[in-house]
C-alpha cells in the first residue's frame, strides 16, 4: 500500500490498518468491521462505497470512537495526523471529535435537534471547542452559512429546524461540521435523503469547500455513480472489509474485484437502455454466519476452491489494491 511520504502535500492524514469493530452480542460475535485498511491523505476525497450492512457507517463511527457497547474497536494501527488514536484518553478524544474530525449524517431531518433553534445549535458547536464569546461564535456561524450557500443567513439562524427544507437543513449540518475547520470530515450518505437536484448542489458545494479549505473527506455512500464524480480515490467495502481500493478513474475503467464489477454493472447507462440491469446474485451473508475465506465467494462467478482461503489485499497495479484470488478486468 501507500507508504507515508515525507512531503507535506502528500502527507498521510489518516492511517488505518486492520480496523476491527466487533459486537459481542448474546447471539454471537458480529464482525461489523473486520480488518479495514485505508489511508487518507491531506485534502483528499475518499469515496467509501458498499451496500447496506457492509459496515461503512460503523467504520465512520469507529474512527470517531463512538461505538457503544457491546461493540469493541481494535486496530493494528490507527493514526490520525501523526497521533495514535488508540492511545488517546476519553478527554483527548473529545477534544478531537467535532474539532479535527467532524461528521455529517444521512438524514437532515434528524441531525438537527427539533427543539433548539439553529443559532443555539451552531453556537454551542463552536463553544464546545473554543473559548470564544457568543457574538464571535455567532459571527463565525453566519460566515459558514454563507459559505454553504444559504441565502439570508441571519434570518435562518433564528428559526427552528422544522421551518427549513431538507436541503437547507443538510446545508446547515454541513456548515456545523465545517465550523471548527476540521482536518477530516466523515460524511455518512449525506445526500441519500435528498432529491436529485439538491443532491447535485450539495455535492458541488461540499467538494468546493473541501478543495478550498484543504479538508480531507471520507464520503460514505452506496451510490457508486454519485461518488465517482466526486472522489479522488474509491474504496469498495463488502462484509466489513475493503475489497478494492484505487484512484477513481482506475476503478471506473478497470475494476478488478468481481464485486466491484457487479456494482458497476448495476448502474444504468445508455448502453443498458431497455435491457434488464445486472444484479449480483444472492444477498449479503449474515454477519453472524460469514462464509469461510473470501466473504464474497458464495455470490462470485469466479470463485474456485482456492477462495475458501482468506484472500490477501495486494496491489495488482500501482496504487490499485484488491483483495481477491482471481482479480481481473474483464467481466
Amino acid at each position: 500500500m501507500q507508504t507515508r511520504a515525507p512531503s507535506s502535500s502528500d502527507k498521510c492524514l489518516l492511517d488505518v490498518q486492520g480496523l476491527r469493530t466487533w459486537f459481542h452480542t448474546r447471539a454471537g460475535v458480529v464482525k461489523a468491521v473486520d480488518g479495514v485498511t485505508l489511508q487518507v491523505k491531506q485534502g483528499e476525497i475518499l469515496g467509501l462505497v458498499g451496500e447496506s450492512g457492509s459496515g461503512k457507517t460503523i467504520t465512520g463511527f469507529s474512527l470517531m470512537n463512538l461505538v457503544d457497547k457491546p461493540g469493541r474497536i481494535r486496530a493494528d494501527r490507527l493514526f490520525f495526523d501523526g497521533r495514535d488514536l488508540q492511545a488517546l484518553s476519553a478527554k483527548e478524544y473529545r477534544a478531537l471529535r467535532g474539532n479535527e474530525i467532524a461528521m455529517i449524517f444521512q438524514d437532515p431531518m434528524m441531525t438537527l435537534n427539533p427543539t433548539l433553534r439553529v443559532d443555539t445549535q451552531m453556537i454551542e458547536t463552536v463553544q464546545a471547542h473554543q473559548r470564544v464569546s457568543r457574538s464571535a461564535a455567532r459571527a463565525r456561524s453566519i460566515d459558514m452559512l454563507v459559505k454553504v450557500g444559504i441565502p439570508a443567513p441571519e434570518e435562518r439562524m433564528s428559526v427552528y429546524p422544522h421551518h427549513l427544507s431538507g436541503g437547507m437543513r443538510q446545508r446547515i449540518a454541513i456548515a456545523m461540521a465545517l465550523l471548527n475547520s476540521p482536518k477530516l470530515i466523515i460524511a455518512d450518505e449525506p445526500t441519500t435523503a435528498l432529491d436529485v437536484t439538491i443532491q447535485g448542489q450539495i455535492l458541488y458545494e461540499v467538494q468546493k469547500l473541501c478543495r478550498e479549505t484543504g479538508t480531507a473527506l471520507i464520503w460514505i455512500t452506496h451510490d457508486l455513480a454519485i461518488v465517482s464524480g466526486l472522489a479522488d480515490r474509491l474504496a469498495v467495502m463488502y462484509a466489513g472489509r475493503i475489497v478494492e481500493m484505487a484512484p477513481t478513474a482506475d476503478i471506473i475503467r478497470g475494476a478488478r474485484h468481481a464485486y466491484t464489477h457487479g456494482l458497476m454493472a448495476s448502474i444504468p447507462t445508455f448502453d443498458t437502455r431497455g435491457k434488464s440491469l445486472f444484479q449480483i446474485p444472492g444477498s449479503t451473508p449474515s454477519p453472524l454466519n460469514m462464509p469461510e475465506g473470501c466473504p464474497f465467494r458464495t455470490r462470485c462467478y469466479r470463485a474456485t476452491s482456492q477462495c475458501v482461503k482468506e484472500p490477501v489485499f495486494e496491489e495488482t497495479a500501482p496504487a490499485h489494491g484488491v483483495s481477491c484470488w482471481h482479480p481481473g478486468i474483464e467481466t
Partner: protein
C-alpha cells in the same frame, strides 16, 4: 455561482413563523370538555390564590367566630346579620364557603409542589438511567419497579406514620410515591431520543454529556411528562384528601379539602350534610377538571396522533 442562484430563487422558508405555542393552543381548543376543564381549573386557582380577599370570613380567626352560628344550614344569615352562610356553617361556626376557599389553597399547594418535586427527581433519575444505561441504569430502574409494586396509599401511610403530621410531610410522602412514574416515563422517552441522529450528531460535536442530556434530550421528552404531570396532579390532590380524611395528613390547623370532609363526616348522620358535602363537591370538581385537561393533553401530545 449558479448553485447559489438556484438556492436564492427557491427560498424554502415559510412567510410567517408559526409559533409552537399557538399551534398547541389551536389543537387544545378542539375539545370543548377540555376547555371547560381548563376554565374550571383556572377559576379554582384564582379562588385559591385570592381566598383572603374573596372569603367572607377568615375561618382561622377564632375571635371572629360566633359559636351561636354553628351548624347553620346553607343560606342562613349570621346572628349578627353581618353575613350570609351561603353554604352553611360547621360545628365551630366557620363559614363552609370560606373554609373551602382556604382548603382549596392547601390542597392545590400540596398538589403542585409535590408533583413539581416528583417531576424534577423522577425526570433526572429516568434521563440519567436512559443515557448511561448499564448497571447504574438497571439499578435505578429496579428501585423504580419496587416502588411501583407497592400501592401508593400504603407507601404514603407508612411514611406518614413515621414522619408525623404536617403539610411538608404530606408533600414528602406524595413525592416519594410519585417520582417513580416520572422516572419510568422519562426513561422510556429518553431511550427513544438517545438513539436519534441528532444525539449522535451532538456526540460527534463533543458536547458534554450534561449538555446533551439537558439541552438536547430533555426538551424532546417533555410532552409525555407533561401528560403524566397533569394526571398525577389530580392523583396527588385526591391522595392528600384521602390521607387527611384518614387523619394522617395535614393538621387540623391547616385544613385541606380532605380535612374538611373528615371534619364534617361526623355531622353527616345528624343531618348537617353541608359541612362535608360542599367540600366534597369542590374536591370532585377540581379532580375532574384536572383530569379533563390531562386527558386531552394526552390526546394531542401523543406522537401517534400527529399528522
Amino acid at each position: 455561482m449558479t448553485q447559489m442562484d438556484i438556492a436564492l430563487a427557491s427560498p424554502a422558508l415559510p412567510a410567517k413563523r408559526e409559533s409552537m405555542l399557538r399551534l398547541f393552543a389551536q389543537q387544545f381548543i378542539t375539545s370543548k370538555l377540555a376547555v371547560l376543564g381548563l376554565i374550571l381549573l383556572v377559576l379554582f386557582l384564582c379562588l385559591a390564590i385570592f381566598a383572603p380577599w374573596i372569603a367572607p370570613q377568615n375561618p382561622f380567626d377564632i375571635g371572629k367566630l360566633n359559636i351561636m352560628d354553628s351548624k347553620l344550614p346553607p343560606g342562613s344569615v349570621s346572628s349578627s346579620s353581618a353575613m350570609t352562610y351561603w353554604l352553611g356553617s360547621d360545628g365551630q361556626a366557620r363559614d363552609v364557603f370560606s373554609a373551602i376557599l382556604y382548603g382549596l389553597r392547601i390542597s392545590l399547594i400540596v398538589g403542585f409542589v409535590s408533583v413539581s418535586a416528583a417531576f424534577v427527581i423522577g425526570t433526572m433519575v429516568g434521563l440519567i438511567s436512559a443515557y448511561f444505561g448499564g448497571r447504574i441504569g438497571a439499578l435505578l430502574m429496579r428501585i423504580v419497579d419496587i416502588q411501583l409494586s407497592f400501592p401508593a396509599i400504603l407507601v404514603a401511610l407508612v411514611l406518614l406514620s413515621v414522619l408525623g403530621k404536617g403539610v411538608d410531610k404530606v408533600i414528602i410522602a406524595l413525592v416519594a410515591v410519585q417520582w417513580a412514574y416520572f422516572a419510568r416515563a422519562a426513561r422510556g422517552a429518553a431511550i427513544v431520543e438517545r438513539n436519534k441522529e441528532y444525539v449522535q450528531a451532538a456526540r460527534c460535536m463533543s458536547l458534554s454529556w450534561q449538555r446533551i442530556l439537558w439541552r438536547h434530550i430533555f426538551p424532546n421528552c417533555i410532552p409525555p411528562l407533561m401528560v403524566i404531570a397533569t394526571i398525577d396532579l389530580a392523583h396527588a390532590i385526591a391522595l392528600e384528601a384521602t390521607l387527611s380524611f384518614l387523619g394522617v395528613g395535614v393538621p387540623v390547623t391547616e385544613p385541606s379539602l380532605g380535612m374538611l370532609i373528615s371534619n364534617g363526616f361526623e355531622f353527616m348522620m345528624s343531618g348537617a350534610y353541608w359541612i362535608a358535602f360542599f367540600p366534597g363537591i369542590a374536591l370532585a370538581l377540581v379532580v375532574v377538571a384536572i383530569n379533563l385537561v390531562g386527558d386531552h393533553l394526552r390526546d394531542i401530545l401523543n406522537p401517534r396522533n400527529e399528522i
